[in-house]
Subunit: 120 residues, 2 copies
DNA sequence: TGAATATATGAACATGTATTCATATGTTAT
DNA sequence: ATAACATATGAATACATGTTCATATATTCA
């Protein structure tokens, strides 16, 4: 005979106690979405390159484009994404806009990322 | 009169010295792609939830599906992605497969992520 | 052996996203 | 005012990716 099934998951419940314990420790949905969104921003090689470059020193859009061998528009679009995620900030000097890191955590996050990769 | 332009970026070079200094400090292309790929894996809310759950204790596929209110197939697909990224490992006990974290760095990376979000 | 069940996997579909192109905006210098 | 130029932005396109559905695989138990 069949036991009760959770509608959505398509299988019988195996460890109800585990599920309840873990559920009680889970952060709010929104928090988890926010972290995921942050990592989504870090999950593109162009943006990683930009951030890594800005880790060294501030640069203008044109410098970044030249450094990465990409056109200005692509860089500008990506800088907007990074700006929205509060990962970079900018200052304007005449026509030129200089971008720099907005948060030291980027360095630590990259550090941990590299360590994980080395950990194979 | 026009100065030389980098073919790709569509603008004149402004700070050639900066570009060269930064370029000399950039890691290998492949390394940067690998970090981006790692963060790409972390950049999905379902996978974030799974990892956060496994941060508490090991769970079988069915438990995870029930916890997140998703079907078994979706979870299984995502676990494969996490496995490929060496973020989770598994042990088989009969029909049941128990997943757990493969690397302590996940905790630190999440930690830094949360701190960045708080830093607004 | 056959039924039940836990997990894995391939294909299809829908959605999201990075880049390019064309063009707009704003600043400097003539 | 006009030209040159650095940057921003909207639309279009191409590609990647998450979920679902159907089904396969593997294990346990009667």
């Amino acid at each position: 005979m069949k036991k009760a099934q959770i509608e959505t998951c398509g299988c019988n419940i195996i460890h109800e106690d585990v599920i309840e314990r873990v559920r009680s420790e889970m952060p709010q949905e929104e928090t988890l979405y926010d972290v995921a969104d942050l990592f989504k921003v870090l999950g593109d090689s162009t943006r990683v390159k930009i951030l890594y470059a800005l880790l060294q020193e501030e640069m203008c859009v044109c410098d970044i484009a030249a450094l990465l061998g990409m056109n200005q528009s692509a860089i500008s679009h990506q800088l907007r994404v990074l700006k929205q995620a509060r990962l970079v900030k900018f200052k304007k000097e005449g026509k030129v806009v200089y971008y720099s890191l907005d948060d030291e955590h980027v360095k630590n996050i990259f550090q941990q990322g590299f360590e994980h990769l080395a950990h194979k």
